[in-house]
Symmetry: C2
Subunit: 211 residues, 2 copies
Amino acid sequence: MSATHIEPVSNVVWHDTTVTRLMREQLNGHRAAAVWFTGLSGSGKSTIGHLVEEQLHRHGCRTYTLDGDNVRHGLCSDLGFSERDRTENIRRIAEMVQLFLDAGIITLTAFISPLRMHRELVQRLVGPDRFVEIHCACPLEVCEQRDVKGLYRRARAGEIREFTGISAPYEPPVAPDLVLHTHRVPIEECAEQVVGRLRERGVLECGRQRA
Amino acid sequence: MSATHIEPVSNVVWHDTTVTRLMREQLNGHRAAAVWFTGLSGSGKSTIGHLVEEQLHRHGCRTYTLDGDNVRHGLCSDLGFSERDRTENIRRIAEMVQLFLDAGIITLTAFISPLRMHRELVQRLVGPDRFVEIHCACPLEVCEQRDVKGLYRRARAGEIREFTGISAPYEPPVAPDLVLHTHRVPIEECAEQVVGRLRERGVLECGRQRA
């Protein structure tokens, strides 16, 4: 019988077999959560985030860090810094975090995210039980003194408009999971505090026990 | 000594410790790759994709499936179906796949993706060595007969404009990794073929051996 004579498979079952988040969490041995770092430019979000990620990875956790480097140049490369674009930027990040959580990943983010309503938007979308808010609370003077990327100098010179802390507001979290005083606590200790908080929140518990 | 008197940590090293894709692949025991299903609506992309994902998950692989359900309603909810919006839709999907690959995940996608240039865009971005193209080659008549979502009926009635296969073109891949004849091969067998192809492409090899 030639291929052209084979009848179409008529009894195909067209349901979608789906691997769920719970199944992925069980495979990973930990829960999926968004670890949201917020704070001024230069407050240590990215540095501490990557330190935390390294520790989690060493413990066998599945992790990923989203920050300006891998988001602003890619997924959000069409967006500027107008209020509308900033909102759309956060919306896309929130949706992406949501997908990463669905994939079972501990997802760390390092964005200034100065507005409370933006962070609340993310929290609503991913769910409060999966949202861990970390405030890198470093005084503006110290951030400006560090000025790792030279952005504060440019902002003071008027070359960057609406720069958080200089010409745009930063709204600190009302009830963050953790406040890191990165100007007087060594970053290694800050990272330890974050991992400890994740443990307290049950993120590092094995999915099997919660199933 | 009270906290307020503690001097700022001045010798902080502000480098970013980074967990790399290779480190994640080594932890996972397999490589990251994009498994891109393309084909008409109703050709079996999503069903076979989920079957493949289930098999990979059972073997301990880290996987995720992106499709219309979790992308169009979320990340791309602001986009319509104009040519410009379709291009932006694919661009965002490509960038997102890129992030998932960076996270070490075998990322399956189920989008009609009718245009060759769009699929080539994804391939260029993620890199040809990480792009596995699967063509769900099911004749239009069979897809239309199945009409799982009732879309063909609506397209024939003129209720949906520019519907692939009816009023918009589908450009089949020139050199796909695999052609699945989903109208005469049972879906379980199709899924087996995909897994076999991933094995041939070295995706399922342990990262440790390739490090």
